[in-house]
């Protein structure tokens, strides 16, 4: 095999073989190291081939599967150590989740309680951000309500903490919810002090890392009304 960068066809063929699992691990490692485009090419193949899985005739699983899933996600259920290890959560993470939770939570955030920020847009509609503190930070879902983002623009979400520059969190769409994780290192402090803003940016978002377009909505978090913990 040549040590030069493979041409486009060679790259596509090798990435396809990798996506099918036909190459051994050493070869894949070598290809990844040699060509920065290899990972992207493998992902593209996974997307091309995944409909093969989606086109199979659906077969309803036995009811016991859901009961087992439900038991495993219900707080009273005993934890299965093998399961947690499987997801890379070691003993330390388990300890953190069980005992030291408050130490890493943003102050003022109650585990399991949702906070909501409703960003009413000057251009019509609203983005509703629901956030919840977890052991490792904050998980947030932003849902559009009657929002239309012009085809030649992007709506970009910004996180504004006291005495800090706004930080870009990502692009929002009018068609579906967007979920994001904010690590505890980036969002220390009470959720009530967190402000979100949406600005209109060129397609793909602000090219500079600073909001360049008009801010069309902003809001702070408040506890969700009548929120019951589900955790």
């Amino acid at each position: 095999m040549s040590t030069e960068t493979p041409d486009d066809d060679e790259l596509a063929a090798l990435a396809g073989e990798a996506a099918l699992g036909l190459l051994d691990a050493a070869t894949v490692a070598e290809l990844r190291g040699r060509d920065g485009r290899f990972d992207e090419a493998v992902r593209a193949w996974q997307a091309r081939l995944m409909p093969l899985a989606a086109e199979l005739t659906p077969i309803a699983p036995p009811a016991g599967v859901w009961r087992a899933v439900e038991a495993a996600i219900t707080p009273a259920a005993p934890k299965r150590p093998g399961f947690w290890r499987g997801f890379g959560l070691g003993a330390a993470a388990m300890a953190a989740a069980a005992g030291v939770l408050l130490a890493v939570l943003p102050r003022g955030a109650i585990p399991g309680q949702n906070s909501v920020a409703t960003l009413n847009l000057t251009t019509g509609g609203a983005f509703v951000a629901t956030a919840r503190a977890t052991a490792t930070g904050v998980v947030m879902v932003v849902t559009p309500a009657g929002v239309t983002v012009p085809a030649d623009k992007s709506d970009e979400l910004w996180l504004i903490l006291p005495n800090q520059k706004p930080r870009a969190l990502g692009l929002l769409t009018g068609s579906g919810a967007v979920a994001m994780n904010l690590p505890a290192s980036e969002i220390a402090g009470p959720l009530a002090a967190v402000k979100l803003a949406v600005s209109v940016e060129p397609p793909g978002g602000s090219p500079t890392g600073v909001a360049t377009g008009p801010v069309i909505g902003a809001a702070v978090f408040t506890p969700a009304p009548g929120e019951n913990s589900t955790f």
Binding site: A12, L22, R43, L52, G112, G176
Partner: protein, 186 residues
């Protein structure tokens, strides 16, 4: 026609968003909408009901844990994301059984699917297109590509099953992959 698919996709995306917030009813809804599809993948790969049930359970617990990593803004379809998790878990199980499956490693990690900016992942349309393009390939190439996708087969096994020399099988698949890519991109 696209509307029904768009609606299903939006509903699944919203569902995943709620699962990320640890909403158990949302996981239940997700399960009701997708479990038959994902169970079919488990059965196709594992050919064993009990193992398929185990893996399906693992898949939904993975989703419970990682729904926050699904990023609708990148244009990835939720069912494609779920199918990828399912295939990876089922192939992991195959490998654990002792059959050879090598090569993807980190490249196969679910998280790696997230940055995929492929706006063309409209489920029904993409499925029909892939089927049409596969039908345009040499029959043996299409069969080998499918077998590898679902089975984690080696080139050696594929060649033996098709009663072909190893080198011929390799060039058959490589040519098939390139033709498939050209067809899908045309």
């Amino acid at each position: 026609m696209a509307t029904v698919q768009d609606e299903a996709r939006a509903a699944l995306t919203a569902c995943l968003g709620r699962v990320a917030l640890r909403d158990r009813t949302a996981l239940r809804e997700l399960y009701q909408r997708t479990s038959a599809k994902l169970f079919a993948i488990c059965l196709r790969i594992l050919s064993d009901g009990t193992e398929a049930e185990d893996v399906l359970q693992e898949v939904y617990l993975t989703v419970w844990d990682k729904a926050g990593q699904f990023d609708a803004a990148r244009g990835l379809s939720p069912i494609t994301w779920l199918a990828a998790i399912t295939r990876n878990r089922a192939l992991d199980r195959l490998r654990a059984r002792g059959r050879r499956f090598a090569g993807l490693d980190e490249a196969a990690e679910v998280a790696d699917l997230a940055p995929l900016a492929d706006q063309a992942l409209q489920d029904g349309e993409t499925t029909a297109r892939l089927a049409a393009c596969l039908a345009g390939l040499d029959e043996r190439a299409a069969a080998a590509i499918k077998a590898a996708f679902f089975g984690g087969q080696t080139y050696e096994t594929l060649a033996r099953l098709a009663d072909m020399p190893l080198g011929s099988m390799k060039s058959l698949i490589r040519r098939g992959l390139l033709r498939l890519k050209a067809c899908l991109e045309s």
